[in-house]
């Protein structure tokens, strides 16, 4: 049982801001729903071409919202189908349609050599300080490809896409989603990960270095060459130390949503590019020698690790004391 618990803990589906599970907070979902506030996603132009919303879609949207966490999150001003499209889409890069207990499939997704840009991480080829620029460029290209596809889908008023989705206790659920919103949500996932997979400046605006997930599985990993290793500490949106990154990820997501909605209607992508420039620009010449230009991010990781160690040490001391007491009682 203990071994199983470790397997589950070490194999959390999310290796970015986490997605909701028994072991992690629904960070991507919360950020996306918060960012949807004050947006005006309106698919009424093309809704007439699609079937009416089903009772199941309404229920699923309610179920998603109820599970966003202890902090009550008001429903965003979008209808249930749009909400489902965004939430299924933003979870997609971390789990595809697999069950969270399908550890082998989820691990293969995490270790996909060509899939790191979906999580704003370095690919194997992104080495040295130049690797920061190439990793950012690859993730940016990935996001823009999704955004361009989303516009195409919006313009033609594409049919609903039935996306296989694992909904707890139900097998083979195909959730009907609006493709444009679903694709945009996957781009949002990468943008949000750019705040949990990078060391940033004090104001969280600029990127100082891009992290690696594959490095943890590379015996020849060298920080100077391959970048700092991914840290689960940065994935935890509930940590107060990550509040600035979460707020910035929410702001950036909101700005991208607004810009993409304009792009869909006008065909002019200038504002989308401006949003990505604003949040994904690289501070030059940051490296391990200068502490990545004195980024505060490593301190967050180290402090949280130290707290975890002291908590563990405290637990060991307590366990030792209990054992000692029980031995003494036995001997007297």
């Amino acid at each position: 049982m203990r071994a199983l618990a470790w397997v589950l803990l070490l194999s959390q589906p999310a290796h970015a801001f986490s997605i909701g599970s028994a072991f992690a907070d629904p960070c991507h979902e919360r950020i996306t729903v918060e960012a949807l506030r004050d947006t005006s996603f309106d698919f009424s132009d093309t809704d007439a071409q699609r079937p009416l919303k089903s009772e199941a879609e309404l229920r699923l949207a309610g179920w998603f919202l109820e599970r966003l966490g202890e902090a009550a999150i008001a429903p965003p001003p979008v209808d249930e189908r749009v909400l489902n499209s965004f939430l299924v889409g933003v979870r997609r890069p971390d789990v595809e349609g697999w069950a969270l207990r399908d550890l082998a499939s989820i691990r293969s997704l995490q270790l996909d050599l060509d899939g790191q840009s979906a999580h704003f991480l370095r690919a194997q080829r992104d080495e040295g300080t130049e690797g920061n620029a190439s990793a950012i460029a690859e993730s940016r290209a990935y996001m823009l490809a999704l955004i361009d596809s989303s516009r195409l889908s919006w313009v033609v008023g594409a049919d609903l896409l039935n996306v296989p989705t694992w909904v707890e206790h139900y097998a083979d659920v195909n959730v009907p989603v609006i493709e444009a919103a679903y694709l945009l949500a996957q781009a949002l996932h990468a943008l949000q990960d750019s705040f949990s997979h990078t060391y940033r400046t004090e104001d969280v605006r600029r990127i100082n270095v891009v992290m690696t997930y594959l490095g943890a599985f590379n015996p020849d990993w060298v920080e100077r060459t391959h970048g700092p290793q991914h840290s689960v500490v940065l994935d935890r949106c509930e940590l107060p130390e990550n509040a600035a990154a979460v707020a910035a990820a929410t702001q950036a997501s909101h700005e991208l949503m607004v810009a993409v909605e304009q792009y869909w209607r006008s065909g002019n992508r200038t504002e989308v590019d401006a949003v990505l420039d604003r949040w994904l620009s690289l501070t030059p010449d940051c490296n391990v020698d200068n502490g990545y230009c004195a980024s505060p991010t490593p301190r967050i990781i180290e402090n949280e690790k130290a707290r975890g160690c002291s908590a563990s040490a405290g637990a060991f001391v307590l366990l030792g004391a209990l054992l000692l007491i029980s031995r003494r009682r036995r001997f007297h």
């Binding site: 028994a22 199941a56 707890e168 139900y170 659920v173």
Partner: protein, 165 residues
């Protein structure tokens, strides 16, 4: 079903004979695939080789996708047969009945009722004083409290221990 059991019991003979033909059982167990636990009670009546069974059980489910933790799960009632072999040291049990949802799931409301199916191919019975300890290392249960457009079906592979009187 209950009246049928009573009728058969009365037809079986006098009170002493009758008492020896009844057995009762309580058990507890769990499943790792579709994580859940179950607590059940069962009564049975010997009718020659087969025994008629009535069972009720509570089957809470664990959540992996959300932080709901232990959910109320389903309440199952069923009837079936038990066959005993090797001087009654080994039994096989088959049950069918109704499974009732006890919590609000993504698509279904509490109270939704569907199918309950349980197959225990090998239950080991160990005499312990006046009781029997029952151990079922692996059995299968299908709980389907909703069989509508999006069916809610849980396939559990269970391990169970119980006491039989």
């Amino acid at each position: 079903m209950l009246s049928a059991v009573v009728w058969l019991a009365l037809a079986a003979g006098g009170p002493e004979n009758l008492a020896s033909r009844f057995h009762g059982e309580v058990d507890v167990g769990g499943s790792l695939i579709d994580p859940s636990m179950h607590v059940g009670a069962e009564v049975g009546f010997a009718l020659g080789m087969p025994r008629l069974l009535l069972r009720a059980e509570w089957n809470p489910w664990f959540s992996l996708q959300t932080r709901d933790g232990l959910q109320p799960g389903v309440f199952n009632v069923g009837a079936g047969l038990e066959l005993r072999f090797f001087d009654e040291r080994l039994a096989s049990v088959f049950l069918v009945g109704t499974s009732v949802l006890l919590f609000k799931s993504a698509f279904d409301e509490p109270g939704h009722a569907g199918l309950f199916l349980s197959i225990q191919p090998a239950v080991l019975r160990f005499p312990v004083g006046t009781f029997h300890l029952r151990f079922s290392p692996l059995s299968m249960a299908i709980l389907a409290p909703s069989l509508e457009a999006i069916p809610l079906i849980s396939a559990q592979f269970r391990t169970t221990v119980g006491f039989e009187l």
